[in-house]
């Protein structure tokens, strides 16, 4: 999840997250379904963990070497059908986690990051589909990442954690699906970095996914996005508290991570959305303070976003995941995008958002053209929105119908193996 304007809609009611600083594991007890949940909510859910520590369960990494043992945090919603033909994997973006829908407890004030789309009767209807979401490898919300213990030293990996890629994230998800007994997904759905995982699924595991819905993403990380990520990484690494990435015994580089998040956040919005939400409004003052304090609402908003992010996110994970994003390029191994998609069997629904300047519509159309070149089944829809990149997290009314229709028509043509 990229965060976004959801909070800005109610600027006076910002809530600072109070999660543990490095929540290696979320331990949430089972609570009866339905408590405290609205109609349409996936209800009370629990993050589960599966650890791969058996011989042969090493994760071979694209950059060389292996990761072992490793843990994947995941949540599920709805019920897996007897024929195991209704599983949908939802993949998350840079700052997301396994908690995609529902609530963790009856008085949980923060539903999952794509709660608007997942639940009974929603676009990803949990009365029909079995929805799975997992935290990516390298993450900091329950799956193994740089904050996890390095078995070689007994201390957190820090920057000794291997560089991971989108392909590695997807391979870990594939092992999770093996564990859950799912041979073939009805669909893989995700936006931004989640969209890259969806594309990787279609290319690397063509026999395991029937429908793909990438939103607000690209088949190769664009230059401008690499540039912004580099600013974020430099901010983290310039923080004296970062200490080469081995800071887990002391203060985390909160200042650096906060600046990284602020930069990132700007790229998720749009000129128009910022203008509309903040304008040049001053915060709690009638005139300039003639100091460097946060006079403007937009400054205050960004500072808040940056700060609250440091309460739930690990700075090293930010480095690793932005690296994975930057390395993503489907043309690299295959020469061209057309070639990369050659063995794809999945049907695609590709969604772009008009004001997304991180992944503008042309980047989504590039995917569509390459798929079409070899007559793959692909549909393209450009959502009119002024929310920028974050639109995929906000524009429920504009995307729910088409995604729901795509899943329903695709389900009719789906027969999983065996």
């Amino acid at each position: 999840m990229t965060g976004g304007l959801t909070a800005a809609r109610h600027p006076r009611t910002w809530v600072v997250m109070t999660a543990a600083k490095h929540p290696d594991r979320k331990e949430i007890g089972d609570v009866a379904m339905g408590l405290g949940a609205d109609a349409g909510s996936a209800g009370i859910v629990r993050t589960r963990h599966v650890t791969f520590d058996q011989p042969g369960q090493e994760l071979a990494l694209e950059g060389g070497g292996t990761l072992a043992p490793f843990t994947v945090a995941y949540e599920t919603y709805g019920k897996l059908s007897e024929r195991r033909d209704n599983a949908i994997l939802v993949t998350h973006a840079l700052s997301g986690d396994a908690h995609v829908a529902g609530l963790h407890s009856a008085n949980d004030r923060r539903p999952g990051w794509w709660d608007m789309m997942i639940g009974p009767g929603k676009g990803l209807d949990t009365d029909r589909y079995f929805v799975i979401s997992s935290n990516v490898i390298g993450g900091c919300s329950g799956s193994t990442g740089p904050a996890s213990e390095n078995p070689a030293t007994g201390r957190p990996y820090g920057t000794d954690f291997p560089i991971i890629t989108i392909a590695d994230m997807v391979n870990a998800q594939a092992m999770l699906l093996d564990q859950l007994g799912i041979d073939k997904l009805l669909a893989a759905v995700g936006g931004s970095m989640g969209g890259m995982q969806v594309l990787e699924w279609a290319v690397a595991h063509p026999e395991r996914v029937h429908l793909c819905v990438p939103l607000a993403t690209a088949a190769r990380q664009p230059t401008q996005a690499i540039a912004f990520n580099e600013v974020g990484r430099q901010a983290i690494m310039a923080d004296p508290d970062w200490r080469g990435g081995h800071y887990y015994d002391g203060k985390p580089p909160a200042k650096g991570l906060s600046v990284a998040r602020m930069v990132g956040h700007i790229t998720y919005l749009s000129d128009e959305a910022m203008q509309e939400k903040f304008g040049r409004r001053l915060r709690d003052i009638h005139d300039y303070s003639f100091t460097f304090s946060a006079d403007f609402e937009v400054e205050s908003y960004l500072r808040h976003q940056g700060l609250s992010f440091t309460n739930r996110f690990d700075a090293n994970t930010y480095l690793y995941i932005t690296r994975a994003l930057d390395y993503f390029d489907l043309t690299r191994q295959h020469g061209s995008l057309v070639q990369a998609f050659r063995n794809v069997t999945a049907r695609f629904l590709v969604l772009a958002f008009s004001s997304d300047w991180l992944h503008p519509p042309y980047q989504l159309k590039e995917i569509v053209s390459a798929l079409r070149a070899t007559h793959k089944h692909v549909s393209y829809y450009e959502v009119e929105s002024h929310y920028g990149h974050d639109a995929f997290l906000l524009e429920r009314e504009k995307i729910e119908g088409i995604i729901g229709a795509f899943l329903a028509s695709g389900a009719r043509t789906f027969a999983p193996p065996g």
Binding site: V368, R372, V378, S379, Y381, I402, A405, A408, S409
Partner: protein, 198 residues
């Protein structure tokens, strides 16, 4: 309503060919072509409702504005490109015809014939812009901004260097065509042209 014009277009489309249907609407024609002629087909439409309706039918559809051309489609990427009853609604009909024969080997275009005797009569006798079952709009709310006639379209083909492979004339989209088309520019309400580059 049984769409005879769709049936006639279907007869022009080779079995198993690759088809692009422009302004495909809810995908009825496209779905029919896939079902009956085994074509590999996809559609293009500018409206959200149309795109969603096509996706609901399980069709492959591209959300795009035909007035911007077909830049997202490669030269010769399709056997047949269809534009059914929408030519008159485009801002740049000549450009789109040119684009159709660039993207496809063959272009099939159908349109309401404005030289049919009823609009002629309404304009001649009534002195008002024609309003009929085929063209049910008032002059001020019509989406049909580039109406043309059978003769006009033939002239366009000539100017564009296009060879007319088939001409079909109907007394209405739901009426079977007469055995022999007599005075088509006067008698046909709907014309279907199949053209290629000469």
């Amino acid at each position: 309503m049984r769409r005879i014009d769709y049936k006639l277009i279907e007869d022009l489309v080779p079995q198993g060919s690759t088809v692009l249907d422009l302004a495909c609407g809810d995908g009825e024609l496209l779905g029919q072509l896939i079902r009956d002629k085994g074509v590999r087909g996809s559609g293009v439409d500018v409206s959200q409702e149309a795109v969603e309706a096509c996706v609901r039918r399980g069709l492959s559809v591209f959300h795009g504005d035909l007035d911007a051309g077909l830049a997202d489609f490669a030269d010769g990427s399709h056997d047949v490109v269809i534009l059914s009853m929408s030519l008159q609604q485009l801002r740049r009909p000549r450009m789109i015809v040119r684009e159709m024969v660039r993207v496809g080997r063959q272009a099939i275009v159908s349109f309401p014939n404005f030289a049919h005797w009823t609009p002629r009569l309404q304009l001649f006798a009534g002195g008002r812009m024609p309003v009929s079952r085929d063209l049910p709009y008032q002059w001020w709310d019509t989406p049909n901004i580039h109406l043309c006639t059978v003769k006009d379209f033939r002239a366009l083909c000539l100017e564009e260097g296009l060879c007319v492979e088939h001409e079909l004339f109907l007394r209405g989209v739901d009426k079977p065509p007469p055995q022999r088309a007599v005075l088509p520019n006067l008698m046909a309400r709907v014309a279907i042209f199949a053209v290629t580059r000469c």
